[in-house]
């Protein structure tokens, strides 16, 4: 009982496309935090696939901060009937280790990637961007920089940081000054009343696209105790449950702000991805589904390629 193949789909997700100054290898990406640094899962096999990286346009790497972070206490994940809450707390190796260990390895393995960074002020974003540019400028597989302006799990600043259009603009500007020949993206929080305003601000300050959306603030209660399950009470809600919410946010941005959007949120199948493309997204990212199945994004890319070929012939 699959819906009929959408006749309107005439784009090859495996075809490189221009995003700002950069030609990106494809339109199906993995989302930050759900596929680590793109160095995990290379050895995995599945019937018909060379690896989970087959056909990926980019891996958006786990957000790194200026210094390494140990993240939040356990439990960090709560499954819900149609999604999950996470409270990883931005555990990451830090910018230096990322530049030193991760980037060269991605380059060596030929993994197309977009680096994701978070900081607590515009200046820091600028410094991180400069550091990446200095070392990464020569890398063939480094395609873009995503500014994570929205992680709801970080105590210092994270929460309200990305909700203010002025701050968003300032962070973008600082990064854009440093990174001019790679695609620059701002990842927006959906936990605001007017996400289009954030997109307008980011666009005015020079991003090539916004990534929408990051997780929604959610909470789950432990019935045995009556207390929230996650140690920080709140977590980021992701997975199929948020698909209609993410689609609404993307539509708002596309129609009100006219800014290119990379769609994220609840994508688990090719059909889910198509819904974002139908609204005008230029690419999509697969998050939670990639955790369940490392071949999710590769499967989506292949299936959309097949639909594309079918429609081209037909």
């Amino acid at each position: 009982m699959m819906p009929a193949t959408p006749q309107w789909w005439r784009v090859d997700p495996l075809e490189p496309f221009q995003l700002g100054p950069r030609l990106i290898p494809g339109r199906i990406w993995t989302a930050s935090g759900c596929f680590a640094y793109g160095l995990t899962g290379h050895e995995m096999t599945a019937p018909g696939f060379a690896s989970p990286f087959a056909g990926l346009g980019a891996v958006v790497t786990k957000t790194v901060t200026p210094a390494a972070r140990a993240g939040n206490p356990m439990p960090r994940l709560v499954e819900t009937p149609c999604g999950a809450l996470n409270s990883i707390g931005l555990e990451n190796v830090g910018l230096d280790a990322f530049i030193r260990d991760v980037m060269p390895e991605l380059e060596k393995r030929g993994v197309p990637f977009v680096a994701s960074i978070a900081a607590t002020c515009p200046e820091q974003f600028g410094e991180m961007a400069r550091a990446l540019q200095e070392t990464g400028g020569g890398l063939r597989h480094w395609h873009g920089l995503e500014l994570n302006l929205s992680c709801p799990n970080v105590a210092e600043g994270g929460h309200d940081f990305g909700k203010d259009p002025h701050t968003v603009a300032a962070c973008v500007r600082a990064a854009r000054e440093q990174v001019t020949d790679r695609a620059l993206l701002a990842k927006l929080t959906p936990n605001v009343g007017d996400i289009a305003a954030l997109a307008v601000a980011a666009s005015g300050a020079g991003v090539d696209a916004v990534s929408a959306v990051n997780t929604f603030v959610g909470l789950e209660v432990d019935l045995a105790t009556g207390e929230p399950i996650l140690p920080r009470r709140f977590g980021g809600y992701s997975g199929p449950a948020i698909l209609p919410l993410a689609l609404a946010k993307v539509d708002e941005i596309v129609r009100k702000a006219g800014v290119p959007v990379v769609g994220v949120g609840g994508i688990a199948t090719a059909e889910d991805a198509l819904k974002f493309f139908a609204l005008g997204a230029v690419a999509v990212q697969v998050g939670t589904a990639q955790m369940r199945d490392p071949f999710s994004a590769a499967t989506i890319a292949r299936r959309l390629h097949e639909i594309y070929l079918g429609n081209k012939r037909g």
Partner: protein, 274 residues
Amino acid sequence: MAAPGLPRPCRCEGVVTGNEPLGPGLLRLSVRLPLEPGFVPGQFAMLNLPAGRAWTFGRPLSILDWLAGEVSFLYRVVGRGTGELAGLKPGAAVTFLGPLGTPFPLDLGGRKAVLVAGGVGLPPLFAWRKQRPQDVAAAYFGARDQEDAPWPLLDSGWRVGLEDLGPSARGGARQGLVTDLLEEDFPADGTRDDCTVLACGPWPMLEAVHRQARRRGWPCWLSLEEHMGCGYGACKGCVVPVADGPDAWRPATCCQDGPVFDAAHLAWPQLERT
């Protein structure tokens, strides 16, 4: 990355060939798979249901056995996932991602293995014993009571300790904890210093076994349990604190760096706090 020498994990759909109860809420699941990379004892798989009925995250289950295209698991029904697994009939489809994780060492450098299993912590040690029977000094299995023990898996090689023995002493089971049995067989007097403990089971058991190993100067490998998202190192949802120099620690992943850890590498102060 899977450490070198480990089988390449595969993601595939399998068909349930058996799902028999071995006790109340205790089942053995067998699944036929199209690929067979093999496994090392201590490795696990993420099981899920096919699209449409899938849980957000797979459920980690240790691999019990893998023979002639059929992989098997021993599991206890505790919640939604294992409850739905228990409802599967032969012919049902499941998705499989595995083998995953860092296993128990197979080569103990000449030392003899003392295997300690608690409840559904049995599979890794069952598999270890099957692969290296000659290297086993002793094998203990502990459970709450008779109904808690998967008897068909426990041949006479296992010394069984039950907290509540009940009326009949099945399979030579003894009243008591596995640690009591170990204490009995291996007095902490230095007479037996050539062993290595491999253990998997509930946390209090692991803590106790670890203390016994230290007292005897034995290396000790523990298989830990944490809630998991991806099972393959992608999400950092399953961290275990490991020592990082004196007094410092860093998060390691239970799914990739573990589930089996050298007890000497764990950050015990942090572990005991949780």
